[in-house]
């Protein structure tokens, strides 16, 4: 019996490390060769995907761009996808997701992310203010459907972004620019002030280099918020364009209803950084039992089971943390859960539920 057999660590697919390590397990049992190798280089781990911070570039007063070199087990991303980033803050592991802002490259598997410090945001504050070159981060491999179609059939595009919603679009624009073929793109981006625009200089430079990229920056502190009825002023043919929108929940909700009203929602692609929660008025408490770890807690019925488990020190698998990737699924042994997005109550023994968007509706037992 070795640590690998215990299987509580989320599987991260096919490791690229040599098979020699499997044989070496006989020498390191019950630990794994990783446990010793990663003392030499933290990136030498098959079981846990890690990355080293190679560059920290300050973008604005409260945002940085980090270049990260992933360790063993990485797989290349598609522009627009996000990665999971785990940091240890005050001794405790926290996970968030960030869009990759660098273009994919054949020669180099380093990736960049851009992070804006959110007030009281534990992970973003840590990454922006307390992360230095050489630090080790935990990674989860790229995921997400917010990507351009592979056949590039979409020749006219509209990117509608606000705040840090520019980050996945930056990844897409950079990869289009790297290929040297910029299609007809309108980028409509909102930020409070000129100083707060992430990648402002680079966006302007791209727009100069590629006439087919039309850039419209809106500074909401002075110009007010963008309303969608103004859309034709910037982009007359908006209903005919493939649209990729990313930003705060309010903007995305508006965008979704606007495109639906126009009957062209099939052209719309949306990336949310938070799950769209249905209004739940439940203020009750439930007993939640994690059967494998033997923990029982009393949790409120508004907090996702993922968070309750993490707070109780249970090893919870997780991914996007917003109901998309299914990286957090776990079997229910008993009880019912509520889907935060739809308010639907469901759950029967053995059903796999997404813990990140499920709250307890009754007392619940999870096989974790």
């Amino acid at each position: 019996m070795t640590r690998r057999d215990r299987g509580a660590v989320p599987a991260s697919g096919r490791p690229s490390a040599p098979k020699l390590l499997a044989a070496a397990t006989w020498l390191t049992t019950p630990l794994l060769p990783d446990d010793y190798l990663s003392l030499v280089n933290p990136l030498w781990s098959i079981r846990e995907l890690r990355g080293r911070v190679e560059t920290v570039q300050r973008l604005t007063a409260d945002a940085v761009s980090l270049v990260i070199r992933p360790g063993w087990g990485w797989s290349a991303h598609q522009p627009g996808q996000y990665v999971g980033i785990g940091v240890d803050s005050d001794g405790v592991r926290y996970w968030r997701t960030y869009s990759v802002t660098s273009p994919p490259s054949d020669r180099d598997d380093r990736v960049s992310i851009a992070v804006k410090a959110v007030p009281n945001g534990r992970v973003s504050q840590h990454l922006v203010h307390r992360t230095a070159v050489g630090d080790t981060l935990r990674l989860r491999r790229p995921q997400g459907q917010f990507v351009l179609p592979a056949d590039a059939a979409v020749d006219r595009l509209l990117f509608l972004t606000a705040g840090s919603g520019i980050t996945p679009i930056m990844g897409i624009l950079r990869s289009l620019a790297a290929r040297g073929a910029m299609p007809d793109v309108v980028l409509l981006h909102s930020a409070p002030t000129p100083d707060a625009v992430l990648f402002g200089a680079e966006l302007r430079e791209l727009a100069t280099r590629f006439p087919s990229l039309r850039l419209h920056l809106r500074h909401t502190a002075t110009d007010g918020r963008l309303t969608l009825d103004q859309l034709p002023r910037w982009c007359r043919d908006w209903p005919e364009r493939g649209v990729w929108a990313c930003g705060p929940t309010g903007l995305l909700d508006d965008v979704e209803s606007h495109w639906r009203a126009a009957g062209v929602q099939h052209r719309l692609h949306v990336e949310r950084f938070q799950p769209a929660a249905a209004a739940t008025a439940s203020g009750g408490c439930s007993q939640v039992r994690f059967t494998r770890s033997g923990r029982t807690i009393t949790g409120d019925q508004a907090t996702p089971l993922l968070i309750l488990g993490e707070d109780a020190g249970v090893v919870m698998p997780s991914g996007c943390r917003m109901g998309i990737c299914f990286g957090c699924v776990a079997p229910v042994r008993s009880g019912q859960v509520r889907d935060l997005r739809t308010n639907q109550v469901h759950g029967e023994a053995g059903e796999l539920i997404q813990t990140c968007i499920s709250t307890a509706a009754t007392d619940v037992e999870l096989e974790l």
């Binding site: 019996m1 070795t2 640590r3 057999d5 215990r6 509580a8 660590v9 006989w26 020498l27 390191t28 049992t29 019950p30 630990l31 446990d35 010793y36 003392l39 079981r47 846990e48 240890d88 005050d90 001794g91 405790v92 592991r93 926290y94 494998r292 770890s293 993490e310 020190g313 249970v314 090893v315």
Partner: protein, 367 residues
């Protein structure tokens, strides 16, 4: 109740309990970076010692290398077992949410699989500490450690076989964790036993292959000295663990309890039993680390899941509390506590009457 609690009213016991709850809450609220870096450092040192020791042993035909390698490997195995393994498996570091250092993923360098040990140790021993008939750790079902345990003629030999047990302690624990007596008495199914035996064998093969076949083979001409070194390191670790553990609950001054006494026990009463049923070892910081901080057995039994590096810090508070409630706080230097525990092994080898009439010995398995 008949033990030292006789002097304490129910209200006193609950007051004691809430004071201990406060000590616990203070530690929980202040766990952070400092603690995380402590366990990370201990793990690094342990792995460094192990790699260093095993590397030196590749040339163990040379006596100085054998000596240094064996010493380093013994120290590594002791740290791995005590300060790291035992405490990680208690969930002391689960709050870090690091799957690499977590009670549900950890496996240790002992024959008994972590899962089996967590059941007999965390569930049974820590819940029923020193309750004769419930706490199977009182003599591990083969050594008579209480007047309330029935005397049998074979107990005359227990000083001898306890010495043997010390040398092969990890194998003894592996066997003990199978709870064969429960199978004999029908409290445990044969299917479950079969699965457990398979798990133990699977692990034992890997453990033995590593220490007694593969590393000796890798050492080429130093194969035999390496084999002897690995065997020595395992025995050193076994004897050390056995000694520390026997000092935890068997020296003079530690109380044992009957099932009747713990009937209807409150949270405060549970705390009190842990206090009276455990003994500390005085010593240096090095002794504390090498004992896995089980030298703070009292603090460990009060708060089994607090990080071990905090036990030394809260010990003065716990001791002061004992002073206030006029409760004993059993402690002494290692040689003294070990001699005291061994005296009990000899004393109990001879027949004696139960301490109390209420010693209704219940089956180990709980309803």
């Amino acid at each position: 109740m008949t033990y030292a609690t006789a002097r304490l009213s129910d209200a006193d016991i609950e007051a004691l309990g809430s004071e201990l709850d406060c000590i616990r809450a203070d530690v929980v609220a202040s766990r952070g970076e400092r603690d995380a870096s402590y366990i990370h450092t201990v793990i690094k040192v342990q792995r460094g010692l192990e790699v260093g020791g095993r590397t030196l042993l590749l040339g163990s035909l040379l006596p100085p290398l054998w000596l240094a390698g064996t010493a380093m490997l013994s120290a590594a195995k002791i740290l791995e077992n005590m300060e790291i393994g035992h405490n990680v498996l208690h969930g002391q570091w689960d709050w870090m949410r690091d799957p690499e250092i977590h009670s549900t993923t950890w496996e240790w360098d002992l024959v008994t699989p972590a899962a089996a040990w967590k059941h007999t140790h965390n569930d049974l021993h820590h819940t029923w500490t020193n309750v004769v008939g419930r706490d199977r750790d009182i003599g591990y079902t083969i050594i008579r450690m209480s007047e309330d345990q029935a005397w049998r003629p074979w107990h005359l030999a227990q000083p001898a076989y306890n010495l043997l047990l010390a040398a092969v302690f990890e194998w003894g624990i592996a066997l003990f964790d199978l709870e064969l007596d429960d199978v004999v008495h029908g409290r445990k199914g044969q299917r479950e036993l079969f699965d457990q035996v398979r798990a133990v064998l699977g692990k034992a093969i890997r453990q033995a292959a590593k220490d007694y076949v593969l590393f000796p083979l890798l050492s080429g001409p130093s194969a035999v000295p390496t084999l002897v070194a690995n065997l020595t390191a395992n025995v050193v670790r076994n004897v050390w663990a056995h000694t520390i553990i026997f000092c935890g609950h068997f020296p003079d001054g530690v109380e044992q309890f009957t099932v009747a006494e713990v009937d209807g026990e409150t949270r405060g009463g549970w705390y009190l039993r842990q206090l009276l049923g455990s003994a500390n070892i005085d010593g240096s910081r090095l002794l504390h680390v090498l004992s896995g901080n089980l030298s703070h057995q009292i603090e460990h039994h009060l708060f089994p899941d607090l990080p071990s590096n905090r036990y030394a810090e809260i010990a003065p508070q716990v001791r002061a509390l004992c002073g206030r409630f006029a409760l004993p706080y059993t402690t002494g230097p290692l040689y003294h506590q070990a001699a005291s525990a061994w005296k009990r092994v000899f004393r109990m080898a001879l027949p004696s009457h139960p301490r109390r009439e209420a010693a209704a010995v219940a089956p180990y398995a709980m309803a």
